[in-house]
């Protein structure tokens, strides 16, 4: 009995709930409404938003909803003029027949992907700037406390090295 190894308990992890963006149902509703406008336009939309649909099915990880919405909005921005064009021409084949049109619709989705990639980089840059500003303010606040209460307020018994103050701001 004593030699029996204790079995490690099976840890059952709860499956993470999928993020729900609501963008998929919105697209379906949008397509249904577009059908009242024009069937051709709906077909163009269905062909044009394929990159978004693919992302909707294949996308995973954190911020999936944001990514999907980002790609979806740019993709729709690229598809929308061609939907109107298909309605005016009365045939969706003439629009799809021009490969440039397809490239423009899918290109707009690519721009969305680019935004997904660039957005966090830009945000990191901006946040870093904000942090630096806050650090300067903190240093000023601490200096005000030191001026009023001496260095003891920092928890030091002795006066610190004056150069050490530079460390307040990285």
């Amino acid at each position: 009995m004593a030699n029996e190894k204790k079995k490690t308990p099976v840890v059952r992890r709860r499956r993470r709930q999928q993020e729900m963006s609501g963008f998929g149902p919105l697209l379906i509703v949008g397509m249904a409404l577009s059908a009242f406008y024009s069937i051709d336009a709906v077909i163009i939309m269905a062909i044009g938003i394929v990159p978004t649909i693919v992302l909707g099915f294949t996308g995973k990880g954190e911020f999936k909803a944001e990514k999907l919405q980002c790609v979806g909005f740019t993709n729709l921005a690229g598809v929308l003029p061609f939907m109107v064009q298909a309605k005016m021409r009365g045939s969706w084949e003439s629009v799809v027949g021009d490969i440039i049109n397809i490239l423009l619709m899918y290109g707009s989705a690519a721009i969305g992907y680019a935004l997904v990639y660039v957005g966090p980089m830009v945000a990191a840059f901006i946040l870093q700037g904000m942090n630096d500003d806050r650090l300067k303010k903190i240093a000023a606040q601490k200096q005000a406390y030191v001026d009023m209460w001496s260095h003891e307020v920092l928890g030091d018994k002795e006066e610190p090295d004056p150069n050490a103050g530079k460390n307040f701001i990285r």
Partner: protein, 675 residues
């Protein structure tokens, strides 16, 4: 001891200006245990011989006696005329002492301090003048509720060189019976230590009168060269009259008088009426039977067969360890039954005496001393309490404590602390009351002292007991060895002088000073508790010292004390330096410097309440520390470089991108439909 000795005031008091004490002309015949006598002159009033008694600070005086005799002098008694503090040069050093001026008899002492009999003393004068003069003096004192207790042959004087009138020396400069020779005290009080004989009663004065007459008749110091133990044996076995006279008969009426006055039993001792009857020749011998102090069977203690129970009590008291062993070894109830057949050892008395047989653990225990004390009280109920090599009466404890402090006798003081036990004292009182001697009323003062005695706190302890029981005693701290501190006002002035000439650091930690202040001040105990708690924190201690002196200055409505104020402010330097807030520190320093010059400590305390300021500073500093540590935590968080893959950056970035995408979609849609 830290700190310095208080210097003597530069200026002489009004009393000192009026009287001149000629320290180069001592008068040993007027000196007492309480002070040294010197010739004196009254500069304002010529005529009338006076002498000055320079009091010793460690010996309590009888203040009520002074007040009574000064207001209404008594005939045939040296009475005080005036008293006050005076600067004197004694033994090559300048000191401030209490000096009492007395009217001086010029006829000389009846027996000089070196034992020479005044040639004018003879049996006729003793019979015709001395007896009546002494009687007049002591009866007048007794009418005022005082006893003299210092009637000695060299303390009785002819009033003038040619007069037969006799005056008795003063009795106010020391406690009653203080350090009187064994032979000159009645048997019960004589057995007690010289410092703890208590107030006694009027019969003690008559005994002293008789003993004095005896010494004067024989013209010698009858107590000199006599061993205390042999004298005690002689007094117990033959009676004091024969013991004092050394077996010599005093013939005639004088012998009858002395025999009556020196009777050992209080009931048989002559009083004022008996002496007057004797003087008028109508008296008849009162002496009848002696009270039976003898035991029915002698007790062998340390190889000596003792018959008298007073002697047995004394023998037990001389060797309490051996006495304890003896009491444990005997069957106590049987021993009492056999030795005292006339007495019944009741259950209550037996439980009060609480003599337990030897438990076999050996060695002397604290309880054994108490057991011996109880048995001694049972054996000699009119005698003193015998406890731990000390014999004393309850009302003699104040002077005994004063004497123990003057010798710094810690052993005696610890014995008194042990004695001040309510249960023990009550058992002693009960034992003596069961034997018909009342002592209960003497315990009231001692009961009040019990909470102080064993307490180590500042302002309490035996020092407090000393000043509470001897309210007239000056502060006997070594710091004040040169000066006489009889009140808080004098203490404050002495502190001002100390401050002007030196340092007052830690002065309030002086136990004597604290106890004196606590006794003579009102509600100062809380202050001393705070001071004691802060004694290891100089900044707080000095702040509290400032508050304390401010309080005293305000209560005494004193003049400005610039020296003390300056030193107290200097003492606050660590407290001010300890203030964390720089601005506050500068403000407080400026306020202190401003107030320092005024010398008004109370005002300074009102303007700069250091204790409050320190508390406020500490509170705000703690708040600042919390804020700084919060900033530190935030800074640490912000110091980390923000990366695009950081969740925060990703979240913000993606939401931003989504917003851009939506704006593009909205713009394209608008242009498509409305452009």
């Amino acid at each position: 001891m830290s700190g310095e000795i208080a210097p003597v005031p530069d200026t002489q008091s009004a009393f000192g200006d009026r009287y001149e004490v000629i320290t180069g002309s001592p008068l040993p015949e007027f000196s007492t245990r309480g002070g040294d006598a010197y010739s004196a002159k009254d500069k304002q009033k010529s005529g009338g011989d006076i002498y000055a008694l320079v009091h010793h600070p460690s010996i309590p005086i009888r203040n009520e006696v002074y007040k009574s005799l000064k207001n209404k002098p008594v005939g045939n008694l040296i009475c005080p005329i005036n008293r006050g503090l005076m600067n004197l040069h004694l033994n090559g050093r300048k000191v401030q002492r209490l000096v009492t001026i007395f009217g001086r008899p010029t006829g000389g002492a009846l027996l000089s301090p070196d034992g020479q009999l005044n040639p004018r003393v003879n049996a006729n004068r003793l019979r015709a003048n001395v007896a009546l003069s002494i009687l007049k003096a002591i009866t007048a004192l007794h009418k005022r509720g005082f006893t003299h207790r210092s009637i000695m042959p060299h303390n009785v004087y002819f009033s003038t060189p040619n007069s037969d009138d006799v005056v008795v020396g003063e009795c106010y400069s020391m406690p009653p019976g203080y350090m009187q020779p064994f032979a000159m005290e009645p048997l019960d009080t004589a057995i007690a230590d010289g410092t703890g004989r208590g107030i006694g009663d009027v019969t003690s004065d008559y005994y002293q009168m008789g003993a004095t007459m005896s010494a004067l008749y024989f013209g010698e110091e009858i107590w000199k060269g006599r061993n205390r133990d042999s004298m005690l044996m002689a007094r117990v076995n033959q009676g004091s009259y024969w013991a004092l006279s050394g077996g010599r008969e005093i013939p005639g009426a004088l012998g009858t008088l002395i025999r009556g006055l020196t009777a050992d039993e209080v009931e048989e001792r002559w009083g004022a009426e008996d002496v007057l009857d004797w003087f008028e020749g109508v008296g008849k011998p009162k002496r009848t039977t002696m009270r039976a102090w003898s035991m029915n069977r002698p007790t062998n203690f340390k190889g000596v067969a003792v018959v008298d129970r007073r002697l047995l009590a004394h023998a037990f008291a001389r060797d309490p360890a051996e006495a304890a062993n003896f009491l444990k070894s005997v069957d106590f109830p049987s021993w009492v039954q056999m030795s005292f057949r006339d007495e019944i050892l009741t259950d209550r008395l037996e439980s009060l005496l609480n003599v337990k047989p030897d438990s076999g653990f050996g060695g002397m225990r604290s309880d054994d001393y108490k057991m011996v004390a109880r048995v001694c009280m049972f054996l000699h109920p009119t005698g003193p309490i015998h406890f731990k090599d000390h014999s004393f009466f309850l009302d003699g404890i104040p002077s005994m404590i004063a004497e123990a402090f003057s010798r710094d006798d810690r052993e005696s003081l610890s014995a008194i602390v042990e004695l001040l036990d309510s249960k023990f004292l009550q058992s002693l009182a009960d034992i003596s009351e069961m034997q018909g001697v009342k002592v209960g009323s003497k315990m009231a003062d001692l009961r009040r002292m019990m909470p102080f005695a064993g307490n180590k706190q500042l302002g309490k302890g035996m020092e407090r007991v000393l000043y509470e029981l001897n309210p007239i005693l000056p502060c006997v701290s070594q710091r004040f060895s040169n000066v006489w501190i009889g009140s808080i006002l004098q203490l404050m002035r002495a502190m001002e002088r100390v401050a002007t000439n030196g340092t007052i650091r830690n002065v309030l930690l002086d136990r004597h000073l604290a106890a004196f202040c606590a006794t003579h001040g009102v509600d100062l105990e809380r202050e001393f508790n705070n001071l004691m708690a802060a004694q290891h924190n100089p900044a707080k201690f000095n702040s509290l010292s400032l508050n304390f002196f401010g309080l005293l200055q305000q209560r005494c409505k004193m003049e400005a004390l610039p020296g003390l104020t300056s030193k107290l402010v200097d003492g606050l330097t660590p407290a001010v330096k300890g203030l964390k807030n720089k601005k506050r520190r500068e403000q407080v320093q400026a306020a202190l410097e401003k107030s320092k010059k005024g010398g008004d400590i109370a005002k300074l305390v009102n303007e700069v309440n250091m204790v409050k300021i320190q508390a406020e500073d500490a509170r705000e500093f703690a708040k600042a520390r919390t804020a700084v540590s919060r900033l530190d935590r935030e800074r640490t968080k912000l110091l980390k470089k923000v990366q695009p893959h950081d969740p925060e950056a990703r979240k913000t970035g993606l939401r931003g991108s989504r917003a851009v995408a939506f704006a593009a979609f909205f713009l394209v849609g608008f242009l498509t439909f409305f452009g």
